[in-house]
Amino acid sequence: MPRTRSGSRRLLKWIGNVLLVLLLVWTLVPFYWMIVTSLKPDREIYGFEATLYPHQPTLAGYARVFTTTPFLKYVRNSAIIAGANTLASLLFGCLGAYALARLRFPGRALIARGLVVSYLVPPALLFIPLFAVLSVLRLIDTHQGLILTYFSFSVPFSTWLLMGYFHSVPLELEEAALVDGCGRLGTLFRIILPMSLPALAVVAFFAFTQSWNEFLYANVFVNSVEVRTITTGLTLFIVEDVFFWGPMMGAAFLSALPPLVVYLIFQRWVVKGLTLGAVKG
C-alpha cells in the first residue's frame, strides 16, 4: 500500500502547513495591527470601520512619543537593567549550574529543586516582601534595586537551564582537562562554556527579554523618570478612561524592536539550545 501511505503523508504535511500558517497569522496579526494603528490618525483609529491599513498615514503618534515623553530615557533604563541582568544571569547561572552539575556537596539536590520552586512562585506574591527588602536596603527607585529583583527570577531559571545542558557535556573531557592541570574554573571557562554556546544564547535571550518586558516589579519599585522602564512608561498613555492609542502603539512597536534584534542575532543558537539543553538533565 505505498500509494496510500504516501497520500497520508501528503495529507499530514498539508495539515501541518495549514496549522503553521494559522499560527503564523495568529502571531503576526497583533504586530501588524500595532504597527498600522501607530500610523493612523485618531479619527481613523476610532472610526466605525476598522481599516486594515492607514488610509491617511501619519507619524503624529511617534512625534508625540518623542516630544511629550522622555521615551529615550525609558529605553536607556530598560537597556541598562536588561543588559546588567543578562550579564549577571550568565555569570551566576554558569557558576551555579556548574557547581550543581559537577560538584558534590551537602544540600545539592535540595538547592537544585529549590531553583525550580523559586522560579514557579508567582511574582504577584513577592512584590510586597521584595518592596520591604528594597526599602530597607534603600534600593527603591534605583536601577540596582530592579536589577537585584530581576536576579531573583532570572538566575534560578538560568541555573536550572544550564544545569541540564552541562549534564550533556561528556565528563571525560573535563577529567582530561583536570588531569592536564586545569583547575575547576579553567575547566568551566575553557571546556564547558565553549561547548555550551547554544545554551548560553538561550539564557541571554530569556534573561534579556524577561527583564525588558517585566512590568509588575518595575511599576511598584520605580517612581522617577530617571529609572522608569519602557513597560511602565507605556501606561502613561492611558489617562483615566481615555487611551491614546496612536502614541501607545508607536511606543510599543519601538520597544519591541530591541528584543527582536537580540533574537535575530542569537536565533540559530537559541533554536539549537531549546531543542538540546532544555530537555536534558
Binding site: D42, R43, F48, I128, A132, V225, I238, D241
Partner: protein, 441 residues
C-alpha cells in the same frame, strides 16, 4: 541531602527564616532614615499643562515655603491604572508617599485602617473661603466626623450629547427617560450610529451608569445609615426594566455594550458611534485637544428625569496624606499650598473642564460662565450624589464598585434573561454580605 542531618536542616531553616523576615524588623526605620523630606506621587491630570503646573507648584512650595533643596523632594509620576498596587505595596512596606491624590472610596478605605492624617483643619480653612466649598464633596473625605482627605475636585457625570444630531432630527435634548427613548429612536441609524452608549460590561462605569438611572426612578443601593441595603426595591425593578427595554425592545443601546470596558463608552462617543453617553467630562477634555469638530457638536447635560426627578452623579477626588511620614507638617503645608485658590484655579482651568472646582466662587470666572456646555455644572456639583447614594462612599461601597456586583445584576437581566426582580434579589443579598462584613469589622 548527603551528609545532612535533621538538626542541620533545622538550623538552615532557622537561618533562612531570619534572613527572610529580618528586613521586616527594620521596615519601620527605613521611612525615618529616608533622604527625601517630601514625597509626592502624581497621578497624571488630563492635560500636560496641568501636569506641568502641578510639578512647578510642588517645587515652588518645597523651595519657598518648606526650605527644601531639590534633592530633598521626590516627585513621582504614577500611572493612575497602576496606582493601587503600588500604593498597597508601599503601605505594607511602611514606605507610602507623603501626599497623593486618592479616589473617594480609597480615602475611606485607608482612613478606616488608620493610615491617613487628619486634615480637618485644612478643610475648615477652605470652607471659610468666600462662598465656601461644595459640601457635596465632603461625603468623600469625612470619616467619623473628621476629614481624612482634602476634596480636590468634583467630578460630575453629565450626559455628553450630539447637538448636531438633535438639530437634524429637529428635537430638543430629552427631559425625561421616556422622551429619551423616543428621541433616541429618531436620531439613531444602527449599526453605524446607536443612540445610547450605556456602559454595560463588568466594569465600574456600568455601576455608575446603571445606578444613575435607578436613582431617577427612586431607587438606591443603601440607606444613609450605610447599613440598610435597599437594592431589592420596586423602584429599582422599574429602573432595571427601563434599561432592559432600551436594550432589548427599543434597541437604542448597542449589543456590544455588555462587553465594554471603562473606555467603551468613551470610544463609542469619540468614534461618533453613539449619540449620548453618561461619563465624566474626560471625553469632553479629550475632544478639546484631539477633535475640536466633535467638541463643537457636543453638549453636556444633566441626566433625563425619571418618575422621581433628575439625580446627577458626582465623584470626588481628594488629596490624602499618610501618617507614616517623619515630616507631616510639610505634607500638610503642600496640600494647603495646592488648595490656595489662586494656585488651585490655575490647575483646574488648565484641565480644560475635566476637573470642576470645589470652591464655589471660582465658578464666577469667565472660564465657567462663558461656555454654554458648562452651565449645568454648578448645579450638578451642588446637588450631585456619589455612586453609593444614599450611603457614603465607604470602603464597603468601594468593594461593591470594584467587584462589579451591580454590573453582574444587569447582565443577569440582559444576557441570562432573568426577571429584574430576581436579579435584584441576588444583587441585594451580595451587597448585604459586603456591608455586613465591613460594618462588623
Amino acid at each position: 541531602m548527603h551528609g545532612m542531618h535533621r538538626r542541620d536542616v533545622l538550623k538552615l531553616a532557622g537561618a533562612a527564616g531570619v534572613a527572610a523576615t529580618g528586613p521586616w524588623w527594620r521596615v519601620g526605620r527605613s521611612q525615618a532614615q529616608r533622604a527625601k523630606k517630601l514625597v509626592f506621587w502624581h497621578l497624571p491630570n488630563f492635560t500636560p499643562l496641568a501636569d506641568q503646573l502641578q510639578k512647578e507648584q510642588v517645587y515652588e512650595f518645597a523651595a519657598k515655603h518648606a526650605g527644601l533643596k531639590e534633592s530633598e523632594v521626590e516627585y513621582a509620576v504614577v500611572a493612575g491604572e497602576q496606582a493601587n498596587a503600588k500604593l498597597a505595596a508601599s503601605i505594607e512596606a511602611g514606605n507610602p508617599p507623603d501626599v497623593i491624590r486618592l479616589y473617594e472610596s480609597n480615602v475611606q478605605f485607608y482612613g478606616a485602617q488608620g493610615h491617613l492624617i487628619d486634615l480637618t483643619d485644612q478643610v475648615n480653612k477652605m470652607r471659610r473661603e468666600p462662598k465656601g466649598i461644595f459640601e457635596s464633596s465632603m461625603a468623600a473625605v469625612l470619616y467619623k466626623g473628621r476629614a481624612l482627605g482634602v476634596p480636590l475636585a468634583v467630578n460630575p457625570w453629565p450626559v455628553h450629547a450630539r447637538l448636531d444630531l438633535l438639530e437634524q432630527a429637529k428635537v430638543e435634548y430629552p427631559k425625561t427617560w421616556d422622551e429619551f427613548i423616543e428621541v433616541s429612536k429618531k436620531i439613531q441609524s444602527p449599526p453605524r450610529l446607536f443612540a445610547f452608549g450605556m456602559c454595560l460590561g463588568l466594569v465600574e462605569d456600568t455601576t455608575d451608569n446603571v445606578m444613575n438611572l435607578l436613582w431617577c426612578y427612586g431607587g438606591k443601593m443603601v440607606e444613609s445609615d450605610n447599613k440598610t441595603v435597599v437594592m431589592n426595591s420596586a423602584a429599582n425593578v422599574a429602573g432595571v426594566k427601563t434599561i432592559e427595554a432600551m436594550f432589548k425592545t427599543h434597541k437604542i443601546i448597542p449589543q456590544g455594550a455588555i462587553s465594554w470596558d471603562n473606555s467603551g463608552n468613551n470610544k463609542a462617543y469619540q468614534s461618533r458611534q453613539a449619540a449620548f453617553v453618561m461619563n465624566p467630562s474626560s471625553i469632553y477634555a479629550y475632544l478639546d485637544s484631539n477633535d475640536k469638530d466633535l467638541q463643537k457638536k457636543t453638549g453636556l447635560f444633566p441626566v433625563p428625569a425619571g418618575p422621581k426627578g433628575t439625580v446627577n452623579q458626582i465623584d470626588t477626588w481628594s488629596y490624602g496624606a499618610f501618617k507614616k511620614n517623619p515630616y507631616p507638617d510639610i505634607a500638610k503645608g503642600l496640600i494647603e499650598y495646592f488648595m490656595q485658590p489662586a494656585n488651585y484655579d490655575r490647575i483646574i482651568q488648565s484641565t480644560g473642564g475635566r476637573w470642576v472646582p470645589v470652591y464655589k466662587r471660582l465658578f464666577d470666572s469667565p472660564f465657567w460662565r462663558e461656555k454654554p456646555e458648562f452651565k449645568h455644572f454648578i448645579n450638578m456639583a451642588e446637588t450631585g450624589v456619589p455612586v453609593s447614594y444614599a450611603g457614603s462612599p465607604t470602603a464597603a461601597a468601594g468593594e461593591v464598585l470594584n467587584t462589579h456586583v451591580i454590573p453582574k445584576m444587569i447582565q443577569r437581566v440582559l444576557v441570562d434573561n432573568w426577571e429584574a426582580a430576581k436579579a435584584l434579589e441576588e444583587c441585594d443579598k451580595r451587597i448585604n454580605e459586603i456591608y455586613a462584613r465591613h460594618n462588623k469589622a
